[in-house]
Structures are given as C-alpha cells and as structure tokens.
C-alpha cells in the first residue's frame, strides 16, 4: 500500500487526534524543525553555488608570454625600493640614465644617450635622448632632478638614500642638516641636459645611475595620486614595460610599453611576475609549466643533487658572501688569535659539497671574485694545525678552558645545517663546544644590532660592481658593521679611497681595507660565495643568461624560434611534496618526496 501525500497528511492528523494534543504538538514542532533544516540546507546550497560561480570568474584570462617567480616586493617605487624583487620590477618599468650590458654589466646608454665626465671626475654632464613617458609626456632632466631629490628628502624615508651620498650635499640633506634642495649638486640647464656634481670622484658613479633608486619618477603622478601612484591606471613609466595589473601575493602583470624609445626591439608583450614563498610549491609550479623561470626560491635543497644534472638547471656566481660575524668586544673572541683559530678550523669545502650543494665556492675573501680591476685579499683557508696552534697561543691548548660560546643564526633550514657542520668541525679540530641558537629573522636583526651575540651568521650582497660596496660597511659609524670593530686607520683608508681618482691606487687602498677586515683582524669568517641558481629551459628562451647582480632584463628575453618543448617537460626528476617547513606553521612537516623519471 502506498499513500499519496494528501493521504499521509490525513493519516498523520488522524494519528494526532488519537494520541492527544501533546503528540500533535510534538509532530508540528518536528515538522517545523524539518522545514527549517531544509531551508538551511537550501541556503547553504545556494551559497555554495554562488561561491562556485565566483571562483569561476576571471576564468579565461589571457596567458602571459613569459612568467617568472618574484617574491612580493615591499614596493616598486624607485625612491623606496629596497629588496631585489622590487628592483627587478622597477628596472623593467623605468629606465635610468644608464642601463647595464646584460653580460658584462658595464654601464650602457639608457635615458642618457651620451655623457661627459670632467677631468677631476666630479662633474657629470648627461645628454638625454628624446623619450616619452607612458602617458605621452617627454622625459626631461627635471624628472631626474625630482626623483633624486625625492630619494634624499628626509620625509621620503628611503632605506636606500645612502646610495646617492657621493652626490654633493646629499648626506647633509638626507640627514636633515640642510633643508635647501638647491644645495644638492644637481642642475638642469635645459630639458635634455642633466648636470651632476659629486662630493668626490666616484669611479662607479655610472654604475650607480643604473640602480633602481636613481630611476626617474613622474612628479605629476606622485603629486596627484599620493601613495596610490603605483597602481595600475595611475602609474606612469618610461621603461620597456607598463604595469597592467597588480594583486598582492597573486600577480604582477607587465605589458610592453608602446611609448618606450626602443619598443620595437622588445619581443615579449605580456609578462607575469608570480609571487610565492613556498619553495616546494614554486618548484611544482615550475615543473607543471605555470612558471617559465624560477630562482633559488623555487629549488628545494632536498633534491638539488638531482636537479644539478639537468639541462635547465643554471648556476652562476653572484655578488654575495656568506660569513660569520665575530663580536670582537666579547672575550674570548676579542682575541684575534681565537678568531683566526676559528676561521682556520672551518672546512668550507665540506660545507659547499655536502650542505649547500648548488655549486657554491668556498670563500677565501670577503669581496667575492668578479670585481673589475680588483684582486681580493686571499685567506689561507682550512688549516687545522695552524688553528690548534693559534688557539694554544691564545691560552686554550686543545680547547681546554675555552668557555662555551654561542653561534647565532636566523631560523632557516640551510643556516641551521651549515651551523651544525661548523659546530661539529670546531669540536673535532679545536675541542671546543659551541652552542647553537636560532632566532626568527626580525629578532635576529635586533640581537646582532645590539651586539648581543658571540658569533652570528651574516651575508652581504654588493649593490654595484666595486669593492667599496663590501668594505665601507666596516667603518666605525656604519650600522651594518655590527661586530664592534672600530678603527681610525680603517676609516681613513676608506675615506682616502673615496677621494682617489686613479683606479690602481684606489683599488690598492681598498685592498688594504680588506686585508684589515680578514687577514689582520679577522672580524668575520668568510664561508662561501653565493651562487644564483635558476631553473629555465635554455633551449626555449634567449636572454636569460645569469649575471653577477642577479638582474632579469625582460627587454632581452625572447622565445627561441626552435620547436618549443612542451611545458615543463624538461626532464623533471622529482615532484616534491612537503619537504621542510611551511614557514612557521608546518615546521615539523615530514618529508614526502617522490622521485620519478619520464
């Protein structure tokens, strides 16, 4: 027997009558609850449908010609840019007085088609080419005048203002001691002539002109839009690309600028810079073809041995040295013999072979190789016998009586592994015990600044191709020194080098500075020179050759005409899962990796 709906209602009503009013109430309430439950489910279902629709929107977006990994920068404002990722974007959006040859990195004409330097090396006269901003206005010397003044303006609070201190009057103006921008050594005789007067001859000044901080800035856009002048639609650029889209942590889209003076030479129309903090995720995106190019933040350390043998793995020297700082104010590290002993007991070769494994080279100097015209002050390297002798001379034969000191590093897997090897080497060679301590980055920065450490991890990246960028930081007043080292002799050598015009003589002075830092005082312990590691298909892309400064010049990038290989099918060996931690969250993530070959 089946009951139709109406029958059932009648049936229920009859039952209710039979069981009395209490049962009827219960049933009515149950029905109400059921109805409400159904309504709730319907609501949830419609919400789901709406969400699915929303997720689907923006579905068929144009694909970019080229995509690369670029961590979300703090800013791309030339006046404020301070991280390499912001620099990469800025240098592709704007063009400075000079640009760099992508191979040699030598300064080449940019917005300036030609320039003259006075005999004393202090006056630079730049002749600007006829070029237009992306809104059609002409690029004039006033744009550079505005940008450089803005960089130095104390209110701008630029972290990189110091890069322009060679300019006459810049230091005082930036410190707020002189408020008159007219005191700066900048003149604009006409729209296409820009005259710069320097404090002292600065042989690397043309090199500085190619840095992101010295790019021109459109005054009208900044003044009209304020903080929002960098947003797509507001931003005005004079370089090869314009910014078409910018969503934080999601995407930056660059589009070829039709107003660029050399626009016809550019091959890429649309380029996407995709951010990502998670190394394994970045690698997966590269392997599956989402990214055409990744730097070291897309190369998991756990599989670097496999990757190194692949054709799309590229490793090249970079202007960065990894070292340990000694706090020279704290015994026993105040004794140079102890510092030397610690240096000679470290086998850097073992570290680059077994820990970093990306093609890094053991460091024998502070200044990495590759500085034009400069020969580094070389250290002797791993000498365990000598190390033991030095430690004995300092009063700790075989490490006896040596207090327990602490090796401080910032929280990161590779820093930890290196520190563990160093700890073990010191224990084996010198018989001393060093404790390891890690601190999260910002805490680490505060601790080292306050000299509240014994030995601390450090590294330094050169801004320009001159040893000065590695050496001036050890001056006594420098906030980047952070070792407690202070020497009047050193300060005067740095100052003399800055005044010296003759190249060989200047390099000699700088070399003496480096000798003091490493050979004589040993305030730091160089471990290795960084390399840039990249993954990209060299058969498919031209113009991605790595360079010392890690620049990515999108003007030069073009797809080879040869048969394009299938996306990602460059002999991927490993699809890597959750190896290592997910930032601070999954620090204890177990390794789940799968190797496979195609």
């Amino acid at each position: 027997m089946t009951l139709r709906n109406s029958d059932r209602t009648r049936f229920a009503a009859g039952a209710a009558r039979a069981a009395g009013p209490a049962a009827a109430q219960r049933r009515a309430r149950y029905r109400a609850v059921r109805l409400r439950a159904i309504a709730t489910l319907r609501l949830i279902a419609s919400l789901l449908a709406a969400a699915l629709l929303c997720a689907g929107c923006g579905l068929h977006e144009d694909l970019a010609d080229f995509t690369f990994l670029n961590r979300e920068p703090e800013t791309i404002d030339p006046g404020l840019v301070s991280d390499p990722n912001g620099g990469i974007i800025a240098l592709n959006l704007w063009e400075g007085l000079t640009t760099r040859d992508p191979q040699t990195l030598a300064p080449a004409p940019g917005m300036a088609r030609a320039w003259e330097v006075s005999a004393d090396g202090r006056n630079y006269t730049f002749h600007l080419r006829r070029a237009a901003w992306s809104d059609g206005r002409r690029v004039t010397s006033a744009d550079f005048h505005y940008a450089w003044t803005r960089l130095l303006e104390p209110a701008t609070a630029s972290k990189y203002a110091g890069i322009l201190y060679p300019l006459e009057g810049a230091r005082a103006f930036n410190a707020g001691q002189s408020r008159d921008p007219g005191q700066l050594g900048l003149r604009c005789p006409d729209d296409s002539t820009f005259v710069v007067r320097l404090e002292s001859p600065t042989p690397y000044f043309l090199d500085l002109c190619a840095l992101p901080s010295l790019l021109p800035v459109p005054r009208w856009a900044v003044e009209q839009q304020g903080d929002r002048w960098l947003r797509p639609g507001n931003i005005v650029t004079n370089g090869a690309f314009v910014l078409a889209d910018w969503q934080l942590n999601r995407r930056m889209r660059l589009q070829r600028s039709p107003t660029y003076w050399n626009a016809s030479a550019i091959s890429l129309d649309v380029v996407d810079a995709l951010p990502g903090d998670y190394i394994n995720g970045n690698f997966n995106r590269y392997t599956s073809g989402v990214l055409d190019w990744v730097d070291g933040s897309g190369i998991p350390l756990a599989i670097v041995d496999q990757l190194r043998t692949r054709a799309d793995f590229h490793s090249s020297p970079n202007l960065t040295t990894f070292f340990y700082r000694f706090n020279v104010t704290r015994p026993p590290l105040s004794d140079v013999r102890v510092r030397m002993a610690l240096y000679h007991a470290v086998d850097a070769q073992a570290i680059v072979e077994h820990v970093t494994r990306g093609g890094q080279q053991p460091a024998h100097s502070l200044v990495p190789p590759g500085m034009p015209g400069y020969t580094e002050a070389q250290l002797a390297g791993y000498q365990p016998e000598l190390a033991r002798d030095l430690l004995a001379q300092a009063g700790f034969p075989d490490g006896r009586g040596f207090p327990t000191i602490t090796l401080l590093f910032n929280t990161s897997e590779s820093s930890k592994q290196i520190a563990e090897v160093v700890q073990q080497q010191w224990s084996k060679e010198l018989g001393i015990h060093v404790e390891l301590r890690n601190q999260e980055w910002k805490v680490f920065m505060a601790t080292t600044r306050e000299l509240d450490y014994d030995i601390a991890r450090g590294n330094w990246t050169g801004d320009y191709l001159d040893p000065n960028t590695f050496l001036e930081i050890w001056s006594s007043g420098s906030g980047n020194n952070r070792t407690g080292f202070a020497s009047a002799e050193y300060d005067s050598l740095i100052a003399r080098a800055a005044r010296t015009l003759e190249v060989a003589r200047r390099m000699e002075l700088l070399r003496r500075c480096e000798e003091i830092v490493t050979q004589r005082e040993c305030i730091i312990l160089p471990v290795y020179y960084f390399v840039e590691t990249r993954l990209f298909d060299g058969a498919r892309w031209q113009g991605l050759q790595p360079n010392l400064l890690g620049l990515l010049d999108l003007k030069m990038v073009r797809r080879t005409t040869a048969k394009a290989s299938a996306a990602g099918a460059v002999g991927a060996v490993g699809a890597v899962g959750a190896v290592g931690g997910v930032g601070a969250v999954g620090a204890a993530a177990p390794a789940v990796a799968s190797g496979r070959s195609r």
């Binding site: 489910l41 969400a51 301070s82 104390p154 995720g281 599956s288 959750a578």
Partner: protein
C-alpha cells in the same frame, strides 16, 4: 531570541576590544621592528620612517589612535607593503580564502553525507568498514601530507589538474579536497551515527511497514532527521576551515589571507597582523553565535538565554 541576540552582540564588543589590545601588546613585546633589515638605516631615515607611521608616539597613544581608526573602519596602512592599506589587502585576499573554504565545505558535504549514510545502512558489513576506514584515514592524514600526495598523483602522474594558484575552478579543486578531507571524514562519522539512531526508530519501521521502497524510506524518512547533527557541526567546521587554511594555501600557492597572516607576524607588520587577527576573531565569534542560534532552531529543547 531578540534579547539573546542583542546581549550576545553587545558582549562581543569588550571581547573584540580585548583581542585588539592583546594582539597590539603581544606584537610590540616581540623583539625587532617592522623596519629592521639586513641593511642598517641611518638614524634620520629610521626616525622619519617611524614618524610616517606614528610609531614615535608613546604606546598608549598609538593604541588609542588605532582603536579610533577601527571605529571608522580604518585598519591602518600595511608597514610591509608600502602604499597598501590593510583593508585593501584583506579585501583582495579574504574572498580567495572564503571561496576555497566554501568549496572545501561543499566537498566535505558531498562526500561525507553519502559515505556516512551508506555506512549506516550497511551497518557492520563491508561497506560500513570501508567507509569508516576511509573516514579514519581522512582524520589521521594531516593536510601537509595529503596535499603533496594529491599533487603527485593528479598533477604529475595523471596530469589531470593544475598545481594550484587561483583563477579557475580546477585550480581550487585539489586545495579544496585537501582542506575538506578532515571535515568530510567527521561529517561521515556524524552522519553514520545520526542515521543509525534514526534507522531504529518507530517511524522508520512504520514507513517500511507501509511498504515504501527502500529508496523512499532512506531519502524521505532517514536522511533528514539524521542530518541534524551534521548541520550543527557546520558552524565550527566553517570556522576551522576558514581559519585553518594557512598550510593548504601555502602548498597550493593559493593567494589567500593565510600567508598574509603568517608573514605579517614574521615581518612585524603590526597593522596587517592585527587586522587579520581581528577579522578571524570576529568570524569565529559570528560563527559561534550562528551555531547557537541554529541549535535552538533545530532542537527546540535548547533555549536561548
């Protein structure tokens, strides 16, 4: 009901205020500041930076300024991302997290309910054991293991799905499954328990006795009442999915709010961290309230008051 709501809403105000003050103080207690970098800043620049963001003022004044801004819906500027306000960042990233969360919840419902129902109807037979085995797996395998496993299988072996990111529905499929797995398993177990209880009830026997087909019995008489515990679980499940998507977002490169929260804390981006914490707190409170209201709607024995 109305007075209950009014009271609950009023009581959230001091709670949220306490959260603001607490997160403000904890952020400031942590050593290091938003402008500490590898390169030391000249003192003049440091002072200017701090002045720009009002960090030179005494703490109580900073706090009162922040709270004053909150009242106008102003969450302040981000210290890390120059020129971006916290509100803009949240407006850009939160919908992504929300979409992912809702999808995950849908996944959980779509898989959990049938699984639990089948298990209950084939009680103690192999489908029950299989379904509950799967559910146990879903509860035990953490998402940072499940996510990469799914990537290996579906992205690299079968080549069916993209590896992550955002822009299309397919990209969100794997993260949604990863995020929803634990909840799907819980729903399956709840559904099974609920259905088992209902199946033994008189009205089900009556329905069977009337000669209804098994299909009708299950869909019309068993499913609806058995769903009640699942529905009441949806509140806490939604909250935990929305707040707990940080790891999944990382693994699948989904640009949601999760990574902003973690990075903001690490970068000492005070305003962004506080804004995110505040949003998550408000969300939790709202969902808890919703659950309480739902309980009373679904079960008349629960009195609000």
């Amino acid at each position: 009901m109305r007075s209950f709501l009014a009271r609950r809403l009023l009581s959230t105000i001091p709670l949220l205020l306490a959260i603001v003050v607490g997160s403000f103080l904890f952020m400031r207690l942590a050593p290091g500041g938003p402008f500490d970098t590898e390169r030391a800043l000249p003192p003049a620049v440091q002072a200017n930076l701090e002045a720009r963001y009002g960090l030179h003022q005494p703490l109580p004044q900073q706090l009162s300024l922040y709270v004053g801004g909150l009242l106008h819906g102003d969450l302040g500027p981000s210290y890390k991302y120059v020129g971006w306000s916290v509100r803009e960042i949240i407006a850009q990233a939160f919908p992504v997290s929300l979409t992912l969360g809702v999808l995950a919840l849908a996944m959980a419902l779509v898989t959990g309910i049938p699984l639990g129902l089948i298990a209950a109807l084939r009680h103690n037979r192999w489908p029950d054991r299989l379904a509950m085995g799967i559910a146990l797996l879903g509860i035990c395998v953490p998402n940072f293991v499940l996510g990469p496993l799914l990537i290996i299988v579906f992205v690299f072996q079968l080549r069916l799905l993209p590896v992550g990111g955002i822009g299309s529905l397919q990209q969100l499929l794997l993260p949604a499954v990863t995020l929803g797995a634990l909840r799907a398993a819980t729903i399956a177990r709840l559904m099974r328990a609920g259905a088992l209880e209902v199946v033994g009830q008189d009205f089900v026997r009556t329905a069977r006795a009337k000669g209804l087909s098994e299909r009708q019995v299950v869909l019309k008489h068993v499913l609806r009442p058995a769903l009640l515990p699942v529905i009441s679980y949806l509140g806490p499940a939604t909250a935990s999915i929305l707040v707990g998507s940080v790891v999944v977002e990382q693994i699948f490169s989904v640009p949601g709010l999760g990574s902003f929260l973690v990075n903001a804390a690490l970068n000492r981006d005070y305003t962004l961290a506080m804004g995110t914490v505040l949003l998550y707190s408000a969300l939790l409170i709202a969902l808890n309230l919703l659950v309480d209201v739902l309980y009373s709607a679904l079960d008349p024995r629960v009195e609000l008051g």
